[in-house]
Symmetry: C2
Subunit: 417 residues, 2 copies
């Protein structure tokens, strides 16, 4: 399903206003569905080097940023809606959609950073001028609290959009959890991702406020499983068996919501679970290699499961310790449950005790968390040897609507219509 297109990569500076953009978007839409455009087929090469300039089409049946290839940098923001006016919220979603189409194509917002009236603030904040599209994707989600009645959406809440249960060991910070809306920005260049979130927040001024945000500096999962699996901050490859962005059958079975699932407006969408997982780096770093390998159930070098020689060899679960992470997270230990993972490592400086505030910002897309994240996490929270070294400190659940079909469509149209 992945299609290689040498997309035009206009400098963000070169196009001002809407004139040229209709064409660019038209060309991108004509290129096919919301699959990634990379400039290189060499997935083992650093993705930043191979494809820093490419644009990912914004329009399609699914939102980009789920099954599309995972660029190396993330800025994720959760918002509270502060307006009480449904029409104002709808207008914001339309404005965001228009801005997202421009930003992901590598253009500035509106009239640009220096093309408007001198006596008005520029439409775009300007720090991405001259930077390439950088495979930027912007993916919106709706949290359970959006359906609380303020906007007449109570009846539209999907049954799958449950409040996540409290798991053993959870130590959640409310200030880093939840949110009425979320936007996930992935890009090869962090400045491009940060610029996008900032400009959306700015467009939303007076209607939404950032509740929390998270930067990720290195992806820990890939949707191109033939590539080198990235390592997490414990130094291990994890998520080896991720769902591939080209595996339509698995995507349909495990990732994309269907009309039959109950909420018609979510057909072609997905459910995102976000967890901020703090890693006790210093404790881990004083643990023996043997213990580390036992905890994961893999060898550290190759990433092969216990008793196997290659990373992608199918693990023999019975040969592994019952508390090992690979065994407990494996689909065979969870009635076949699978998720598409797009997590990122984070480092947010140092805590008050001089320890690195670092870990994994876990992002997983699934058709229904009740059949995927929730049972898997119950299993892990109960028994995983890794629990000695990690703590879940933030949590959120979002209904991620289907893609924006064309330039008359907008984020959430089916929900609000």
């Amino acid at each position: 399903m992945t299609e290689e297109v040498n997309s035009p990569s206009p400098s963000r500076r070169s196009v001002i206003g809407w004139g040229g953009v209709g064409l660019a978007l038209g060309a991108a839409a004509a290129g096919g569905t919301a699959v990634v455009l990379t400039r290189s087929t060499d997935e083992d090469a650093p993705e930043t080097a191979a494809s820093g300039g490419a644009a990912v089409p914004f329009h399609g049946p699914h939102q980009a940023g789920i099954a599309t290839a995972v660029p190396d940098r993330l800025h994720f923001a959760a918002f509270d809606v502060t307006t009480k006016d449904r029409a104002e919220l709808v207008q914001l979603l339309k404005d965001w959609t228009a801005a997202a189409a421009r930003l992901t194509a590598g253009h500035a917002v509106g009239e640009g950073a220096y093309g408007g009236q001198p006596e008005a603030p520029p439409d775009d904040t300007g720090e991405a001028l001259g930077l390439k599209p950088s495979r930027l994707t912007l993916t919106i989600g709706f949290g359970p609290s959006l359906f609380d009645g303020r906007f007449g959406l109570k009846d539209k809440r999907p049954a799958a959009l449950v409040d996540l249960p409290k798991f053993p060991g959870d130590n959640l910070d409310a200030a880093r959890s939840g949110g009425d809306l979320c936007v996930q920005a992935c890009a090869d260049d962090p400045q491009v991702a940060v610029h996008a979130i900032r400009n959306l927040a700015r467009i939303g001024f007076g209607k939404v406020a950032v509740r929390w945000s998270q930067l990720g500096f290195g992806k820990t999962s890939s949707t191109t499983p033939d590539a080198q699996t990235p390592r997490n901050l414990f130094g291990f490859k994890d998520g080896t068996r991720n769902i591939a962005g080209t595996d339509d059958a698995s995507l349909d079975k495990h990732v994309w919501a269907s009309e039959k699932d109950g909420a018609a407006w979510m057909a072609g969408g997905s459910y995102l679970v976000a967890r901020r997982i703090r890693m006790n780096i210093e404790t881990w770093d004083r643990t023996s290699l043997q213990e580390q390998e036992d905890v994961f159930g893999r060898d550290k070098g190759e990433g092969a499961a216990v008793g196997k020689s290659k990373e992608h060899d199918e693990p023999l679960l019975k040969a592994m310790l019952p508390t090992s992470h690979v065994r407990l997270a494996h689909p065979d230990s969870n009635s076949g449950a699978r998720m598409l993972r797009r997590g990122y490592s984070f480092t947010d400086g140092t805590d008050g005790l001089g320890r690195l505030d670092a870990g994994l910002f876990f992002l997983a897309y699934q058709r229904d968390a009740r059949d995927a994240f929730i049972p898997v996490q119950r299993n892990l929270a109960r028994s995983d040897a890794l629990n000695e070294y990690i703590q879940h400190v933030g949590s959120a659940h979002f209904a991620v609507p289907p893609g924006v079909r064309d330039k008359d469509d907008w984020w959430g149209r089916a929900l609000f219509s």
Copy 2:
């Protein structure tokens, strides 16, 4: 002075132990002084794309990470020394030097992440296995507090290593200021920079503790001024007139300390001022284009000074508002004072009011801050129109010793001998 060398770029995984490294270091040392090795001469191309794999030589008369080209990612850490034992501190500096030589060459620390004894913690934490050297540089500095008498260094404190004065408008957080030691890690890949700081912190366990650290996601200055000047988070090009890494005369005059400056052990070193400058992004974003351009004294698009058409045209200071940033920071307004700037944009999530905790992590190298940062900042703090939109919230000053000459030399040898 810049020399292009196609350096060997071993995978971090491929070399374990010290055997192969002596050769690699020897080759690098033979390549010349501490100038950058890039794989491409195209400075306008994204540096991550052009040169993600290259290694920068560790040995030379000056530390790398000052005049060498500026990669796009930063992890900076300040440490408190917790041991009271001078010999232990000296041994740590030797251990750090050995580790830094390996890390910057693209190798794992010691026996690697999975090459030692299974019953012992691995020497390396492993998350950079398989990643390229990524132009990693590691640059050490010594803060004023290191010379307080604990280690018999009182007489060695350079006169230039003053306690920075309090400037008008300063709102410094002690927890983000100062430090006995600092290490600046710059790299094309943030995972490589974070890995390096983490492993140095780990080697220092029980002897030093991280006091504060800062991640930077996008450089705001360049030491290759013919390249595109990067933009700061206000969307402007600043630091257009930075000192070039190839301009030996200016480096000798403004950046490198000399024996004649008083502290013989600092000859070939430099003085680093680090300031965490919070930008009031939301206020700025509601300011008119005209006001923004007046504040900087440049146009936003091209970056040209008032009345000029090109970014690099020499500004006519008298034509500019007396409060404009360019005019106040210009050497002609500061008795010719110049610094080599290597600052980075940062975003550390959101503050309690939903505002982006973002800004500029200002890093400037100079021969003597009393002739450079201090008078320039006095001038700016008094009059700069930009002060309405920024606040200095962290501050530190470090004596950055000369380079490590060869494999028998170590960070700070001249200071402790």
